[in-house]
Protein backbone atom coordinates (compact mmCIF):
# COMPACT_ATOMS: atom_id res chain seq x y z
CA UNK A 1 0.00 0.00 0.00
CA UNK A 2 2.96 2.28 0.42
CA UNK A 3 4.20 1.43 -3.04
CA UNK A 4 3.27 4.62 -4.79
CA UNK A 5 6.35 5.17 -6.90
CA UNK A 6 6.01 2.24 -9.27
CA UNK A 7 6.49 4.15 -12.48
CA UNK A 8 8.73 1.90 -14.52
CA UNK A 9 7.00 -0.76 -16.58
CA UNK A 10 8.39 -4.22 -16.92
CA UNK A 11 9.01 -7.05 -14.49
CA UNK A 12 9.72 -6.16 -10.89
CA UNK A 13 13.02 -7.26 -9.34
CA UNK A 14 12.97 -10.83 -8.20
CA UNK A 15 13.29 -10.52 -4.47
CA UNK A 16 10.46 -8.02 -4.12
CA UNK A 17 8.10 -10.00 -6.29
CA UNK A 18 8.81 -13.01 -4.13
CA UNK A 19 8.11 -10.89 -1.10
CA UNK A 20 4.74 -9.59 -2.13
CA UNK A 21 3.02 -12.17 -4.28
CA UNK A 22 2.77 -15.84 -3.50
CA UNK A 23 3.50 -17.54 -6.81
CA UNK A 24 1.78 -20.45 -8.41
CA UNK A 25 3.16 -23.89 -7.73
CA UNK A 26 2.11 -27.40 -6.95
CA UNK A 27 -0.82 -27.79 -4.61
CA UNK A 28 1.31 -28.96 -1.67
CA UNK A 29 3.51 -25.97 -2.12
CA UNK A 30 0.50 -23.70 -1.89
CA UNK A 31 -0.64 -25.52 1.22
CA UNK A 32 2.80 -24.98 2.73
CA UNK A 33 2.52 -21.28 2.06
CA UNK A 34 -0.88 -21.21 3.64
CA UNK A 35 0.37 -23.03 6.73
CA UNK A 36 3.45 -20.86 7.18
CA UNK A 37 1.81 -18.19 9.39
CA UNK A 38 0.47 -20.94 11.65
CA UNK A 39 3.82 -22.48 12.56
CA UNK A 40 4.80 -19.96 15.16
CA UNK A 41 1.51 -19.89 17.11
CA UNK A 42 1.27 -23.66 16.92
CA UNK A 43 4.84 -24.08 18.16
CA UNK A 44 4.20 -21.71 21.07
CA UNK A 45 0.95 -23.48 21.86
CA UNK A 46 2.65 -26.87 21.74
CA UNK A 47 5.49 -25.70 23.97
CA UNK A 48 2.97 -24.20 26.36
CA UNK A 49 0.88 -27.40 26.49
CA UNK A 50 3.88 -29.68 26.91
CA UNK A 51 5.45 -27.35 29.43
CA UNK A 52 2.29 -27.29 31.52
CA UNK A 53 1.81 -31.07 31.24
CA UNK A 54 5.41 -31.77 32.25
CA UNK A 55 5.21 -29.34 35.12
CA UNK A 56 8.07 -27.11 33.91
CA UNK A 57 6.04 -24.11 34.89
CA UNK A 58 3.58 -24.02 37.73
CA UNK A 59 -0.05 -23.76 36.63
CA UNK A 60 -0.33 -20.80 38.99
CA UNK A 61 2.08 -18.80 36.89
CA UNK A 62 1.04 -20.09 33.48
CA UNK A 63 -2.16 -22.11 33.36
CA UNK A 64 -2.34 -24.73 30.58
CA UNK A 65 -4.25 -23.72 27.41
CA UNK A 66 -7.01 -26.26 28.01
CA UNK A 67 -7.64 -24.74 31.42
CA UNK A 68 -7.95 -21.27 29.89
CA UNK A 69 -10.40 -22.58 27.31
CA UNK A 70 -12.43 -24.29 30.03
CA UNK A 71 -12.62 -21.05 31.96
CA UNK A 72 -13.69 -19.21 28.86
CA UNK A 73 -16.44 -21.75 28.19
CA UNK A 74 -17.57 -21.62 31.80
CA UNK A 75 -17.75 -17.84 31.66
CA UNK A 76 -19.81 -17.98 28.49
CA UNK A 77 -22.14 -20.69 29.81
CA UNK A 78 -22.83 -18.98 33.11
CA UNK A 79 -23.68 -15.74 31.32
CA UNK A 80 -21.14 -13.75 33.33
CA UNK A 81 -19.12 -13.09 30.22
CA UNK A 82 -22.05 -11.46 28.44
CA UNK A 83 -22.76 -9.18 31.39
CA UNK A 84 -19.19 -7.92 31.33
CA UNK A 85 -19.06 -7.67 27.54
CA UNK A 86 -22.32 -5.77 27.58
CA UNK A 87 -21.08 -3.33 30.22
CA UNK A 88 -17.88 -2.73 28.26
CA UNK A 89 -19.62 -2.35 24.91
CA UNK A 90 -22.13 0.09 26.31
CA UNK A 91 -19.36 2.23 27.74
CA UNK A 92 -17.32 2.22 24.60
CA UNK A 93 -20.30 2.95 22.34
CA UNK A 94 -21.66 5.80 24.45
CA UNK A 95 -18.21 7.30 24.89
CA UNK A 96 -17.31 6.88 21.25
CA UNK A 97 -20.60 8.36 20.02
CA UNK A 98 -20.29 11.40 22.27
CA UNK A 99 -16.60 11.88 21.59
CA UNK A 100 -16.84 11.52 17.82
CA UNK A 101 -19.85 13.87 17.60
CA UNK A 102 -18.02 16.55 19.56
CA UNK A 103 -14.88 15.83 17.59
CA UNK A 104 -16.72 16.16 14.27
CA UNK A 105 -18.30 19.43 15.37
CA UNK A 106 -15.01 20.80 16.63
CA UNK A 107 -13.07 19.65 13.58
CA UNK A 108 -15.68 20.99 11.18
CA UNK A 109 -15.85 24.41 12.79
CA UNK A 110 -12.06 24.64 12.85
CA UNK A 111 -11.88 23.35 9.30
CA UNK A 112 -14.37 25.85 7.92
CA UNK A 113 -13.16 28.90 9.77
CA UNK A 114 -9.55 29.96 10.09
CA UNK A 115 -10.65 32.24 12.93
CA UNK A 116 -12.04 29.44 15.03
CA UNK A 117 -8.91 27.46 14.31
CA UNK A 118 -6.65 30.30 15.42
CA UNK A 119 -8.52 30.67 18.71
CA UNK A 120 -9.16 27.03 19.54
CA UNK A 121 -6.43 24.86 18.05
CA UNK A 122 -3.51 25.91 20.29
CA UNK A 123 -5.51 25.18 23.45
CA UNK A 124 -6.72 21.95 21.92
CA UNK A 125 -3.17 20.90 21.06
CA UNK A 126 -2.03 21.71 24.58
CA UNK A 127 -4.80 19.62 26.16
CA UNK A 128 -4.04 16.75 23.77
CA UNK A 129 -0.56 16.45 25.26
CA UNK A 130 -2.08 15.16 28.49
CA UNK A 131 -2.85 11.44 28.15
CA UNK A 132 -6.11 9.83 29.25
CA UNK A 133 -4.46 8.29 32.29
CA UNK A 134 -3.39 11.70 33.53
CA UNK A 135 -6.92 13.03 33.11
CA UNK A 136 -8.28 10.13 35.13
CA UNK A 137 -7.57 11.41 38.67
CA UNK A 138 -8.81 14.86 37.71
CA UNK A 139 -12.11 13.65 36.33
CA UNK A 140 -12.35 11.12 39.14
CA UNK A 141 -12.26 13.90 41.72
CA UNK A 142 -14.82 15.91 39.76
CA UNK A 143 -17.48 13.33 38.93
CA UNK A 144 -16.70 10.35 41.16
CA UNK A 145 -16.10 6.76 40.13
CA UNK A 146 -19.44 6.07 38.39
CA UNK A 147 -20.30 5.62 34.74
CA UNK A 148 -19.83 9.30 33.76
CA UNK A 149 -16.10 8.93 34.53
CA UNK A 150 -15.79 6.18 31.91
CA UNK A 151 -17.94 8.00 29.36
CA UNK A 152 -15.92 11.21 29.71
CA UNK A 153 -12.53 9.55 29.42
CA UNK A 154 -13.52 7.33 26.48
CA UNK A 155 -15.14 10.29 24.77
CA UNK A 156 -11.96 12.31 25.26
CA UNK A 157 -9.88 9.52 23.75
CA UNK A 158 -12.13 9.26 20.69
CA UNK A 159 -12.52 13.02 20.31
CA UNK A 160 -8.87 13.82 19.64
CA UNK A 161 -8.20 11.81 16.46
CA UNK A 162 -11.68 12.54 15.10
CA UNK A 163 -11.29 16.30 15.53
CA UNK A 164 -7.76 16.44 14.12
CA UNK A 165 -8.53 14.25 11.11
CA UNK A 166 -11.71 16.19 10.39
CA UNK A 167 -9.76 19.43 10.44
CA UNK A 168 -7.13 17.95 8.17
CA UNK A 169 -9.77 16.52 5.86
CA UNK A 170 -11.36 19.90 5.37
CA UNK A 171 -8.01 21.44 4.57
CA UNK A 172 -6.95 19.04 1.86
CA UNK A 173 -9.28 19.89 -1.03
CA UNK A 174 -6.99 20.14 -4.09
CA UNK A 175 -6.40 23.68 -5.29
CA UNK A 176 -7.41 22.89 -8.86
CA UNK A 177 -10.81 21.58 -7.75
CA UNK A 178 -11.39 24.75 -5.78
CA UNK A 179 -10.41 26.76 -8.83
CA UNK A 180 -12.96 24.88 -10.91
CA UNK A 181 -15.53 25.81 -8.30
CA UNK A 182 -14.54 29.45 -8.56
CA UNK A 183 -14.75 29.36 -12.35
CA UNK A 184 -18.26 27.96 -12.13
CA UNK A 185 -19.16 30.74 -9.70
CA UNK A 186 -19.95 28.41 -6.80
CA UNK A 187 -21.23 30.01 -3.64
CA UNK A 188 -19.36 29.25 -0.43
CA UNK A 189 -22.05 26.76 0.51
CA UNK A 190 -21.69 24.96 -2.81
CA UNK A 191 -17.91 24.97 -2.48
CA UNK A 192 -18.16 23.28 0.89
CA UNK A 193 -20.87 20.79 0.01
CA UNK A 194 -19.63 19.75 -3.40
CA UNK A 195 -15.85 20.13 -3.25
CA UNK A 196 -14.51 20.27 0.28
CA UNK A 197 -16.78 17.67 1.86
CA UNK A 198 -16.32 14.89 -0.73
CA UNK A 199 -12.53 15.18 -0.59
CA UNK A 200 -12.66 15.21 3.21
CA UNK A 201 -14.64 12.00 3.56
CA UNK A 202 -11.77 9.46 3.47
CA UNK A 203 -9.82 11.38 6.10
CA UNK A 204 -12.96 11.73 8.21
CA UNK A 205 -13.35 7.99 8.10
CA UNK A 206 -9.75 7.43 9.11
CA UNK A 207 -10.38 9.72 12.07
CA UNK A 208 -13.47 7.79 13.12
CA UNK A 209 -11.66 4.48 12.86
CA UNK A 210 -8.68 5.77 14.81
CA UNK A 211 -11.11 7.24 17.33
CA UNK A 212 -12.72 3.87 17.87
CA UNK A 213 -9.35 2.17 18.32
CA UNK A 214 -8.40 4.76 20.92
CA UNK A 215 -11.79 4.45 22.63
CA UNK A 216 -11.39 0.69 22.95
CA UNK A 217 -7.86 1.05 24.30
CA UNK A 218 -8.90 3.57 26.92
CA UNK A 219 -11.91 1.48 27.86
CA UNK A 220 -9.56 -1.30 28.92
CA UNK A 221 -7.32 1.13 30.79
CA UNK A 222 -10.20 2.84 32.57
CA UNK A 223 -11.77 -0.46 33.53
CA UNK A 224 -8.45 -1.74 34.82
CA UNK A 225 -8.09 1.25 37.10
CA UNK A 226 -11.61 2.06 38.20
CA UNK A 227 -14.62 -0.17 37.68
CA UNK A 228 -16.61 -2.99 39.19
CA UNK A 229 -17.79 -4.67 35.99
CA UNK A 230 -16.65 -5.00 32.44
CA UNK A 231 -13.85 -6.87 30.71
CA UNK A 232 -11.06 -4.78 32.23
CA UNK A 233 -12.51 -5.44 35.67
CA UNK A 234 -12.57 -9.15 34.89
CA UNK A 235 -8.83 -8.99 34.23
CA UNK A 236 -8.12 -7.17 37.48
CA UNK A 237 -10.41 -9.49 39.41
CA UNK A 238 -8.67 -12.56 38.04
CA UNK A 239 -5.32 -11.05 38.93
CA UNK A 240 -6.41 -10.33 42.48
CA UNK A 241 -7.58 -13.90 42.98
CA UNK A 242 -4.41 -15.09 41.25
CA UNK A 243 -6.56 -16.92 38.69
CA UNK A 244 -4.45 -16.41 35.61
CA UNK A 245 -6.80 -18.57 33.54
CA UNK A 246 -9.49 -15.95 34.12
CA UNK A 247 -7.05 -13.15 33.26
CA UNK A 248 -6.05 -14.85 30.03
CA UNK A 249 -9.62 -15.67 29.05
CA UNK A 250 -10.56 -12.01 29.51
CA UNK A 251 -7.50 -10.85 27.56
CA UNK A 252 -8.49 -13.16 24.71
CA UNK A 253 -12.01 -11.72 24.67
CA UNK A 254 -10.68 -8.15 24.73
CA UNK A 255 -8.33 -8.94 21.86
CA UNK A 256 -11.01 -10.72 19.84
CA UNK A 257 -13.52 -7.88 20.16
CA UNK A 258 -10.90 -5.26 19.34
CA UNK A 259 -9.78 -7.30 16.34
CA UNK A 260 -13.37 -7.79 15.11
CA UNK A 261 -14.13 -4.08 15.33
CA UNK A 262 -10.91 -3.19 13.58
CA UNK A 263 -11.68 -5.57 10.69
CA UNK A 264 -15.24 -4.30 10.49
CA UNK A 265 -14.23 -0.66 10.33
CA UNK A 266 -11.47 -1.49 7.86
CA UNK A 267 -13.99 -3.22 5.62
CA UNK A 268 -16.49 -0.38 5.92
CA UNK A 269 -13.75 2.14 5.19
CA UNK A 270 -12.61 0.33 2.06
CA UNK A 271 -16.16 -0.19 0.81
CA UNK A 272 -17.17 3.33 1.51
CA UNK A 273 -14.10 5.01 0.09
CA UNK A 274 -14.04 2.65 -2.87
CA UNK A 275 -17.61 3.60 -3.75
CA UNK A 276 -16.77 7.20 -3.06
CA UNK A 277 -13.77 7.49 -5.36
CA UNK A 278 -15.61 5.54 -8.07
CA UNK A 279 -18.52 7.97 -7.93
CA UNK A 280 -16.12 10.90 -7.92
CA UNK A 281 -14.46 9.60 -11.04
CA UNK A 282 -17.84 8.89 -12.59
CA UNK A 283 -18.96 12.42 -11.81
CA UNK A 284 -15.82 13.98 -13.25
Amino acid sequence: MTQTATTLPGPAPEHTSAATTGHVGPAWHKLGRWLEPLWLPLAVLALWTVGAAQGWISAQVLPPPAFVLDTLRELADSGDLWLHVQASLQRVLVGFAAGSLIGLALGTSMGLSRNVEAYVLPSFNALVQIPVLAWLPFVLLLVGIGEPLKYILIAKAALVPVALNTLQGFRQAPANLREVGQVYGYTRRQQVLEIVLPTAVPTLFTGLRLGFTKAWLSLVVVELVASSEGLGYLIVYGRQLFQLDLVMAAVIVVGAIGFAFDRLLDLAERRFIGARSASLQGGA
Binding site: P41, P137, L224
Partner: protein, 268 residues
Protein backbone atom coordinates in the same frame (compact mmCIF):
# COMPACT_ATOMS: atom_id res chain seq x y z
CA UNK B 1 -2.82 -1.05 6.81
CA UNK B 2 -1.33 -0.99 10.25
CA UNK B 3 1.17 1.57 9.18
CA UNK B 4 -1.50 3.99 8.06
CA UNK B 5 -3.00 4.06 11.54
CA UNK B 6 0.28 4.97 13.17
CA UNK B 7 1.17 7.44 10.47
CA UNK B 8 -2.22 9.12 10.81
CA UNK B 9 -1.59 9.42 14.50
CA UNK B 10 1.73 11.09 13.86
CA UNK B 11 0.07 13.53 11.50
CA UNK B 12 -2.39 14.28 14.26
CA UNK B 13 0.47 15.13 16.56
CA UNK B 14 2.14 17.51 14.14
CA UNK B 15 0.94 21.12 13.99
CA UNK B 16 -1.32 21.94 11.08
CA UNK B 17 -0.79 25.64 10.74
CA UNK B 18 1.52 28.24 12.22
CA UNK B 19 0.50 31.82 11.66
CA UNK B 20 3.16 34.20 12.85
CA UNK B 21 1.59 37.52 13.69
CA UNK B 22 -1.77 36.21 14.87
CA UNK B 23 -0.49 33.76 17.41
CA UNK B 24 -1.89 35.81 20.30
CA UNK B 25 -5.33 34.56 19.36
CA UNK B 26 -4.43 31.12 20.63
CA UNK B 27 -3.89 32.57 24.08
CA UNK B 28 -7.38 34.07 24.37
CA UNK B 29 -9.12 30.85 25.32
CA UNK B 30 -6.63 29.69 27.99
CA UNK B 31 -6.50 33.19 29.47
CA UNK B 32 -10.30 33.36 29.63
CA UNK B 33 -10.44 29.90 31.22
CA UNK B 34 -7.88 30.81 33.88
CA UNK B 35 -9.68 34.10 34.58
CA UNK B 36 -13.00 32.30 34.99
CA UNK B 37 -11.38 29.71 37.24
CA UNK B 38 -9.77 32.38 39.38
CA UNK B 39 -13.01 34.34 39.67
CA UNK B 40 -15.15 31.39 40.72
CA UNK B 41 -12.57 30.29 43.26
CA UNK B 42 -12.18 33.75 44.86
CA UNK B 43 -15.88 34.60 44.86
CA UNK B 44 -16.75 31.31 46.57
CA UNK B 45 -19.61 30.75 44.15
CA UNK B 46 -19.15 27.04 44.34
CA UNK B 47 -18.55 25.69 47.75
CA UNK B 48 -16.32 22.73 47.24
CA UNK B 49 -12.95 21.66 48.51
CA UNK B 50 -12.16 20.53 44.98
CA UNK B 51 -12.27 24.01 43.52
CA UNK B 52 -8.79 25.13 44.39
CA UNK B 53 -7.58 28.52 43.27
CA UNK B 54 -4.92 28.94 40.60
CA UNK B 55 -2.74 30.57 43.26
CA UNK B 56 -2.87 27.44 45.34
CA UNK B 57 -1.85 25.33 42.35
CA UNK B 58 1.08 27.66 41.78
CA UNK B 59 2.01 27.35 45.46
CA UNK B 60 1.97 23.59 45.20
CA UNK B 61 3.99 23.77 42.02
CA UNK B 62 6.59 25.95 43.70
CA UNK B 63 6.72 23.67 46.71
CA UNK B 64 7.18 20.56 44.55
CA UNK B 65 9.91 22.21 42.54
CA UNK B 66 11.79 23.84 45.42
CA UNK B 67 11.78 20.75 47.64
CA UNK B 68 12.99 18.63 44.76
CA UNK B 69 10.04 16.23 44.90
CA UNK B 70 9.15 16.95 41.31
CA UNK B 71 12.70 16.32 40.22
CA UNK B 72 12.90 13.02 42.11
CA UNK B 73 9.60 11.84 40.66
CA UNK B 74 10.50 12.93 37.14
CA UNK B 75 13.94 11.37 37.19
CA UNK B 76 12.53 8.07 38.47
CA UNK B 77 9.91 8.06 35.71
CA UNK B 78 12.27 9.15 32.96
CA UNK B 79 14.98 6.65 33.91
CA UNK B 80 12.48 3.82 33.53
CA UNK B 81 11.02 5.30 30.40
CA UNK B 82 14.37 5.61 28.66
CA UNK B 83 15.50 2.12 29.68
CA UNK B 84 12.33 0.62 28.26
CA UNK B 85 12.53 2.85 25.22
CA UNK B 86 16.07 1.75 24.37
CA UNK B 87 15.45 -1.95 24.88
CA UNK B 88 12.17 -1.81 22.95
CA UNK B 89 13.59 0.26 20.11
CA UNK B 90 16.69 -1.88 19.70
CA UNK B 91 14.74 -5.12 19.55
CA UNK B 92 12.08 -3.47 17.42
CA UNK B 93 14.67 -2.43 14.84
CA UNK B 94 15.99 -5.98 14.61
CA UNK B 95 12.53 -7.54 14.38
CA UNK B 96 11.30 -4.92 11.92
CA UNK B 97 14.34 -5.35 9.69
CA UNK B 98 13.89 -9.12 9.68
CA UNK B 99 10.20 -8.76 8.82
CA UNK B 100 10.97 -6.27 6.07
CA UNK B 101 13.97 -7.95 4.47
CA UNK B 102 13.22 -11.62 4.83
CA UNK B 103 9.99 -12.63 3.09
CA UNK B 104 9.84 -16.09 4.60
CA UNK B 105 10.29 -14.72 8.13
CA UNK B 106 7.57 -12.20 7.38
CA UNK B 107 5.15 -14.89 6.26
CA UNK B 108 5.85 -16.93 9.36
CA UNK B 109 6.00 -14.24 12.04
CA UNK B 110 4.12 -11.30 10.51
CA UNK B 111 0.56 -12.56 11.09
CA UNK B 112 1.33 -13.52 14.69
CA UNK B 113 2.83 -10.12 15.33
CA UNK B 114 -0.18 -8.35 13.83
CA UNK B 115 -2.53 -10.34 16.03
CA UNK B 116 -0.37 -9.65 19.07
CA UNK B 117 -0.42 -5.90 18.55
CA UNK B 118 -4.22 -5.87 18.34
CA UNK B 119 -4.44 -6.71 22.03
CA UNK B 120 -4.49 -3.58 24.09
CA UNK B 121 -1.08 -3.22 25.64
CA UNK B 122 -2.47 -2.45 29.05
CA UNK B 123 -4.28 -5.76 29.14
CA UNK B 124 -0.86 -7.39 29.47
CA UNK B 125 -0.10 -5.63 32.74
CA UNK B 126 -1.78 -8.14 35.06
CA UNK B 127 0.08 -10.99 33.39
CA UNK B 128 3.36 -9.10 33.44
CA UNK B 129 2.85 -8.35 37.11
CA UNK B 130 2.48 -12.06 37.85
CA UNK B 131 5.50 -13.04 35.80
CA UNK B 132 7.86 -10.21 36.72
CA UNK B 133 6.54 -8.85 40.01
CA UNK B 134 5.55 -5.27 40.71
CA UNK B 135 9.01 -3.73 40.66
CA UNK B 136 11.09 -1.98 38.07
CA UNK B 137 11.69 -5.13 35.99
CA UNK B 138 7.99 -5.50 35.26
CA UNK B 139 7.72 -1.83 34.35
CA UNK B 140 10.68 -1.95 32.01
CA UNK B 141 9.31 -5.08 30.31
CA UNK B 142 6.00 -3.32 29.79
CA UNK B 143 7.63 -0.13 28.48
CA UNK B 144 9.82 -2.13 26.10
CA UNK B 145 6.71 -3.77 24.68
CA UNK B 146 5.09 -0.37 24.26
CA UNK B 147 8.13 0.95 22.39
CA UNK B 148 8.63 -2.20 20.35
CA UNK B 149 5.35 -2.20 18.44
CA UNK B 150 5.58 1.12 16.54
CA UNK B 151 9.27 0.56 15.74
CA UNK B 152 8.58 -2.86 14.21
CA UNK B 153 5.58 -1.64 12.23
CA UNK B 154 7.33 1.40 10.78
CA UNK B 155 10.70 -0.28 10.15
CA UNK B 156 9.12 -3.16 8.25
CA UNK B 157 6.78 -0.78 6.44
CA UNK B 158 9.59 1.56 5.45
CA UNK B 159 11.73 -1.27 4.11
CA UNK B 160 8.85 -2.73 2.14
CA UNK B 161 8.01 0.73 0.82
CA UNK B 162 11.30 1.08 -1.05
CA UNK B 163 10.32 2.37 -4.50
CA UNK B 164 10.45 -0.39 -7.09
CA UNK B 165 12.29 1.78 -9.61
CA UNK B 166 15.16 2.32 -7.15
CA UNK B 167 15.43 -1.42 -6.69
CA UNK B 168 15.45 -1.85 -10.41
CA UNK B 169 18.30 0.64 -10.79
CA UNK B 170 20.24 -1.32 -8.19
CA UNK B 171 19.60 -4.51 -10.13
CA UNK B 172 20.70 -2.92 -13.39
CA UNK B 173 23.95 -1.84 -11.77
CA UNK B 174 24.47 -5.38 -10.56
CA UNK B 175 24.45 -4.52 -6.84
CA UNK B 176 24.91 -7.42 -4.49
CA UNK B 177 22.16 -8.08 -2.00
CA UNK B 178 24.24 -6.44 0.76
CA UNK B 179 24.84 -3.36 -1.36
CA UNK B 180 21.16 -3.12 -2.25
CA UNK B 181 20.18 -3.24 1.40
CA UNK B 182 22.75 -0.77 2.70
CA UNK B 183 22.72 1.69 -0.20
CA UNK B 184 19.16 1.59 -1.49
CA UNK B 185 16.71 0.03 0.96
CA UNK B 186 17.96 1.49 4.25
CA UNK B 187 18.35 5.10 3.04
CA UNK B 188 14.86 5.06 1.60
CA UNK B 189 13.43 3.49 4.77
CA UNK B 190 15.07 5.87 7.23
CA UNK B 191 12.30 8.49 7.44
CA UNK B 192 9.78 5.79 8.23
CA UNK B 193 12.13 4.21 10.78
CA UNK B 194 12.54 7.61 12.40
CA UNK B 195 8.75 7.89 12.61
CA UNK B 196 8.68 4.56 14.41
CA UNK B 197 11.33 5.61 16.92
CA UNK B 198 9.56 8.91 17.50
CA UNK B 199 6.26 7.12 18.14
CA UNK B 200 8.09 4.71 20.44
CA UNK B 201 9.31 7.61 22.55
CA UNK B 202 5.78 8.95 22.94
CA UNK B 203 4.18 5.54 23.50
CA UNK B 204 6.69 4.60 26.14
CA UNK B 205 5.99 7.88 27.97
CA UNK B 206 2.26 7.12 27.99
CA UNK B 207 3.06 3.60 29.12
CA UNK B 208 5.26 4.96 31.92
CA UNK B 209 2.29 6.77 33.40
CA UNK B 210 0.15 3.66 32.92
CA UNK B 211 2.71 1.43 34.56
CA UNK B 212 2.92 3.70 37.58
CA UNK B 213 -0.84 3.48 37.88
CA UNK B 214 -1.28 -0.22 37.50
CA UNK B 215 1.97 -1.54 38.96
CA UNK B 216 1.82 0.58 42.05
CA UNK B 217 5.19 0.61 43.67
CA UNK B 218 7.96 3.11 43.56
CA UNK B 219 7.80 6.81 42.98
CA UNK B 220 7.22 8.62 39.76
CA UNK B 221 5.09 11.33 38.28
CA UNK B 222 2.14 8.95 38.04
CA UNK B 223 2.42 8.27 41.75
CA UNK B 224 2.13 12.00 42.44
CA UNK B 225 -1.21 11.94 40.62
CA UNK B 226 -2.44 8.90 42.52
CA UNK B 227 -1.42 10.47 45.82
CA UNK B 228 -3.23 13.69 44.94
CA UNK B 229 -6.33 11.78 43.95
CA UNK B 230 -6.33 9.66 47.11
CA UNK B 231 -5.99 12.66 49.40
CA UNK B 232 -8.43 14.83 47.45
CA UNK B 233 -5.66 17.29 46.69
CA UNK B 234 -6.86 18.83 43.47
CA UNK B 235 -3.88 21.20 43.34
CA UNK B 236 -1.47 18.26 43.30
CA UNK B 237 -3.54 16.49 40.62
CA UNK B 238 -3.60 19.54 38.36
CA UNK B 239 0.11 20.10 38.83
CA UNK B 240 0.85 16.44 38.01
CA UNK B 241 -1.26 16.63 34.86
CA UNK B 242 0.55 19.73 33.70
CA UNK B 243 3.95 18.17 34.44
CA UNK B 244 3.07 15.05 32.42
CA UNK B 245 1.75 17.17 29.57
CA UNK B 246 4.87 19.34 29.50
CA UNK B 247 7.21 16.35 29.40
CA UNK B 248 5.17 14.81 26.57
CA UNK B 249 5.22 18.10 24.71
CA UNK B 250 8.99 18.44 25.14
CA UNK B 251 9.50 14.96 23.70
CA UNK B 252 7.26 15.78 20.75
CA UNK B 253 8.96 19.08 20.09
CA UNK B 254 12.51 17.78 20.35
CA UNK B 255 11.78 14.82 18.07
CA UNK B 256 10.27 17.19 15.52
CA UNK B 257 13.24 19.55 15.64
CA UNK B 258 15.59 16.59 15.27
CA UNK B 259 13.55 15.28 12.34
CA UNK B 260 13.65 18.60 10.56
CA UNK B 261 17.38 18.86 11.18
CA UNK B 262 18.16 15.36 9.90
CA UNK B 263 15.92 15.42 6.85
CA UNK B 264 16.64 18.99 5.88
CA UNK B 265 16.74 19.22 2.12
CA UNK B 266 15.45 15.71 1.65
CA UNK B 267 12.24 15.13 -0.18
CA UNK B 268 10.39 12.47 1.67
Amino acid sequence: MARSVDAAELAAVAPLTAQGSRRWRGLVLPAAAVALWWFTSTLDLVNSALLVSPVQVLDTAWEMISTGRLWRALSASLARELTGFFIGTASGLVLGALLGLWPRFNRMVGPSFNTFKQISLFAWIPLISVWFGLGDVAKVVFLSLAALVPVVVNTAGGIRGTPANLLEVARVYGYTRWQTVTQVVLPSAIPSIFTGVYLALIYSWLATIGAEYLLVSGRGVGNLLIEGSEHFQMDLVIFGMVAIGVVGWLMNASARVLERHIFKGRTI
